[in-house]
Symmetry: C2
Subunit: 340 residues, 2 copies
């Protein structure tokens, strides 16, 4: 059978308390000789601590829960990777719960909370969900939220600076490339990221004194197919814009498809801008102009934040932190420069 601290205690002629201390405690509250002897015996017995027992005794799990929306594409790989890496360095395990047909975000969260399965949760909230606030309010496990809206101000939040990203690239398109007829394909209407990107877009236009045309703002769904559809609609308008700003790269890719099949050349006949800077964009021809989002940074930062919370669980004084991850502009060849 597996050795326990009890076996070690026996063989070493000490109490289990001493063994526990020798094996676990940080402070040297055990005489070095005793400790050495215990360590040796523990080795010899091939002792492996039983984390289940430890968990119960300390009522802690050493696990972090990561709640993801329906995952697809390398965006989420990067998040998971970032979170896993930092969690591991901090001595935490990572329990992942993605959304799928059988479970939504709230259910995932509830699963973690109810059974006190994790010490803390990282929660990606792409869009509003009715019961979310209620659930969050009911359970007192530390939570870091990844999203870009101010509905959750009392929690720790990590967000992409969507507004600034959209603003910058649209502003650049106006000021440096002399464009003014710029349309946009948004994400799903409830999506927070999309909303902020749209705000950045409209703000940039406004600041440049360009009137916003509602018929040039079309709702998409963040998928390639959706981008294709939306683009087709834009390209069949009587008054066409010169530029399409897609709220993510997937839809931008869809625009490439649509433009190709409708016989529009990029960037001569229509210019395309994306958002995210996923690998795919580098393979579009001409290369996609887009907004760079440091995805794995998001995962890393939120995990660091969460772990800091977990380490100072008693210290309630720390104010909720709101960290914005800034974005950058990637200049491809999908937007032409107008002379004038």
């Amino acid at each position: 059978m597996k050795a326990t601290i009890y076996d070690i205690a026996n063989k070493a002629g000490v109490s289990t308390a001493t063994v526990s201390r020798a094996l676990g405690d940080k402070q040297e509250t055990v005489r070095p000789e005793t400790r050495d002897r215990i360590l040796q015996i523990s080795n010899q017995l091939n002792y492996r601590p039983n984390s289940l027992a430890k968990n119960l005794a300390k009522s802690t799990t050493s696990a972090i829960g990561l709640v993801l929306p329906e995952i697809q594409g390398d965006f989420y790989t990067e998040i998971v990777k970032g979170v896993d890496e930092i969690a591991f360095s901090g001595g935490y395990h990572l329990i992942v719960a993605s959304s799928h047909s059988r479970r939504n975000i709230v259910e995932s969260l509830l699963g973690f909370m109810r059974e006190s399965l994790v010490d803390g949760v990282i929660l990606m909230i792409p869009s509003m969900n009715g019961h979310l606030e209620e659930v969050l309010a009911n359970y007192k496990i530390p939570v870091v939220i990844i999203n870009d809206i101010h509905a959750f101000d009392k929690y720790d939040i990590v967000s992409i600076d969507n507004f600034q990203g959209a603003y910058s690239i649209i502003n650049y398109t106006i000021k440096s490339l002399n464009h003014s007829k710029i349309s946009m394909i948004t994400g799903p209407s409830g999506n927070y990221d999309s909303q902020m990107r749209k705000k950045g877009y409209t703000a940039a236009l406004k600041d440049a004194g360009i009137t916003i045309r509602k018929d040039w703002i079309i709702e998409g769904d963040f998928t390639i197919k959706g981008g294709e559809l939306a683009c087709s609609r834009i390209l069949s308008l009587k008054e066409k814009p010169d530029v399409i700003f897609a709220a993510n790269d997937n839809m931008a890719a869809g625009c490439y498809n649509a433009s190709e099949s409708l016989g529009f050349k990029i960037p001569e006949d229509i210019c395309i801008i994306g958002f995210d800077h996923i690998e795919l964009g580098n393979f579009l021809r001409p290369k996609l102009t887009t907004v760079h989002v440091p995805v794995s940074e998001i995962g890393k930062t939120s995990t660091k934040l969460l772990i800091k919370r977990l380490r100072n669980k008693d210290d309630k004084s720390i104010e909720p932190q709101h960290i914005k991850i800034s974005t950058g502009i990637i200049i491809g060849d999908s937007v032409s420069k107008l002379n004038n």
Copy 2:
């Protein structure tokens, strides 16, 4: 404080054993009225079972560990998604451990095993690792291995049929498109998938009576850059092949880059074949001809297998199962048809 079964027992005037049975047991070993009363009180007290205690008592975790190699790209998203979905339906949580600078596969596995953190493990083994067999032999937790080699025959294995995939597409290229000058860019030499794909490639050539040229088999590393490099080398050979079979789509994409910068047109001057059928391939122009791998199927199948094992842990009689997931051919426009 949180309510425990003790509180419920008190309030209901029964023992904790009865409460435990009423709340947990499948068989109706509790009188319906008692059970109802207990359920009601438990509700009223807002009782939440403490999974930590349950775990210790049953010495089981209801968790499945997923050990991944260094993750990158949507391939792994699909795996995680597939595993998570099935694990959830089976009542298991998913603990993910990817490899990174601070931890390799063996270490991840050891972490799971040593601390009995999970009931079972799904293990992706892309290439040989010295201590792996040793570790596997030392711990008796059920394991399902995802890879395509016969070194682990005594374990449950799920594998992509790499050989058949490569064979089919090369055979098709020879028989239907009349090619015979076909080169290959392999993956890293130790990689199992790559090795089997190479075998499929050579077998198809052999069966068609085509001599294999070693100078037309170049080692890559499964990355885009690696494909680019390897392709450049091939395109600068004195005797050039007509077709390049890249062992994965990433490298195929790299070939597109290299061909473009060296002025080779696809498929007129050089034909490209990939493997994996990732999203990226659909956006290459001309469209990539490649082998379809049902990635999320792999995750799902291995999880089903593992859960079956966990449910029949006593029944040792079940032989190790080896499941092959078959692949399909995706015909794009990156390979021309020769007349003759």
